[in-house]
């Protein structure tokens, strides 16, 4: 069965996100009251699998995220 997978990887709460800070500052300079801007990484892919949950969890732990500094979440939907 084929699935459409979306994974979001973000720096853990409390860890400084330098890219987010710079972009947040730029938006503030444009006059928007932006605070705490973060830049997560967003992955989209299709996966042929019988156990997509298990495989996606494994992919996050093995490569997509570094569990020491990142949290991740994902959604898995059947490809129609």
């Amino acid at each position: 069965m084929k699935w459409k997978v979306t994974v979001i990887v973000r720096l853990k709460e409390g860890l400084n996100d330098p890219e987010g800070r710079v972009i947040g500052n730029a938006l503030r300079n444009l006059g928007y009251a932006v605070e705490n801007l973060r830049v997560p990484k967003h992955f989209e892919f299709e996966l042929e699998s019988e156990e997509p949950e298990e495989e996606v969890e494994e992919m996050c732990r093995k490569l997509l995220a570094n569990p020491l500094i990142h949290d991740y979440e994902y959604s898995i939907e059947p490809v129609s």
Partner: protein, 223 residues
Amino acid sequence: MVRFAVVVFPGTNCDFETERAIRKAGAEAERVWYKTSLKDYDGVVLPGGFSYADYLRAGAIAARQEIMDKVREFAREGRPVLGICNGFQILTETGLLPGALRPNRIPRFLCRWVHLRVNDVETPFTSLYEPGEVIRMPIAHAEGNYYVDDPSKVRTVFQYSDGKGNVSEEANPNGSVLNIAAIVNERGNVLGTMPHPERASDRFLGSEDGLRLFRSMVEWARR
């Protein structure tokens, strides 16, 4: 003669300088493409550069290549493993060294000389330094901001300092916890350094302070 492998991934770019520095330190060195074998070597060096263009996270993709199983074996056997800059990032990504290297506090590429305080001379890589000595080496990285949950458990080898050896916030170029610039594993045979010793291995480069790191390593491997 002691032989070191200098592992080359797609995007590695400090391999020639590293090879040259090891030779100058008195050992044989060979640049080795990451698809080939590591047998017949006494130690392995992961040089600087941008393996896999630093896509995803610096060092992340190189860390998942098959050759790293052999590097793990080297480390397990107690043989010397040195990671410089991108090599350090690869070593943390494989778990051979604790912690992670995040994007610099100010998110831009830093390329400049820094002062380092030598913290630990009881390692095979630093035996030729004096304890507390201040040395000079260049850094060149965008992701050198070292992070670890409990820094008290890490063996810190070099710390960013000022010219007098004061480890201060002002002397911290990238935001690393406790100004950490280089660490070694508990056993002492795996070292990761963000500053580039090979770029400080000749007087014409501006410093020879990095050469002693290679000399210490070679001397130890010879025994």
